[in-house]
Subunit: 105 residues, 2 copies
DNA sequence: CAATAATATAAGCAAGTGATTATATAATAG
DNA sequence: CTATTATATAATCACTTGCTTATATTATTG
């Protein structure tokens, strides 16, 4: 069973613009830290720390591929999160452009 | 249009156990402050202040009836909030018992 | 091995948050 | 008008949060 308190804790994670942006990007496709830094125009540690919170809560999973760690959503078992995600505005074109470019440098 | 930032701000409001509990109660039926204090076992100013935040964000509306102010949800125009609400665990029996009792003292 | 790139972790700090206590306002009852 | 009940507001405080800067770790390349 999922308690109100657990749900509140997960929603609290979505209640931050940086994390919600990360999620709106990961809805489209997986991405690694350097991509997210580019798209969201912030620092690498900032993104890393937000990703850690999302990972600790089980909302994202990571997949290391050599030097890069790709993050993706893991919300199949979280209907109240899925419900929110459905109504997020689409992440912009910029996302695809950057994501389709070469890994980072 | 609703921006990611606006949605994040609304989700932030749901990301607190007291407020999410309030919402889960108001899904069932309207309630006044004294009811919520009873059900959630906290202080009157605490409930009042959470209700104010919810009201400022347009998530609840108030309806004064004499001495009492009844609060109810106002989320018809907020699909991402509705989506969350659908997946909240039902508020307990206790709620109905107290809500069906006489107004507060 | 050394240099570089991607990511993680740690420390510090300013700003925000949730709760409590005390007080004010508003409506009703007598 | 006075007392009481319901609610709101204000002040305070411990705690949390998001971001930055600095440093560590891990993998790749030559």
């Amino acid at each position: 069973m999922t308690t109100i308190e657990t749900i509140a804790d997960q929603l609290k994670l979505l209640g931050d613009k940086t994390r919600l942006n990360i999620i709106s990007i990961l809805v489209q496709q997986e991405a690694c830290v350097c991509h997210l830094v580019e798209i969201l125009q912030t620092t690498q540690p900032n993104i890393s720390q937000h990703l850690r919170k999302l990972k600790d809560a089980g909302l994202v999973k990571e997949d290391r591929r050599g030097q890069w760690i790709y993050y993706s959503l893991q919300i199949e078992d979280k209907p109240h999160i899925q419900a929110v995600v459905e109504y997020l505005p689409e992440a912009e074109e910029k996302v695809k452009t950057i994501l389709n470019g070469l890994p980072c440098k």
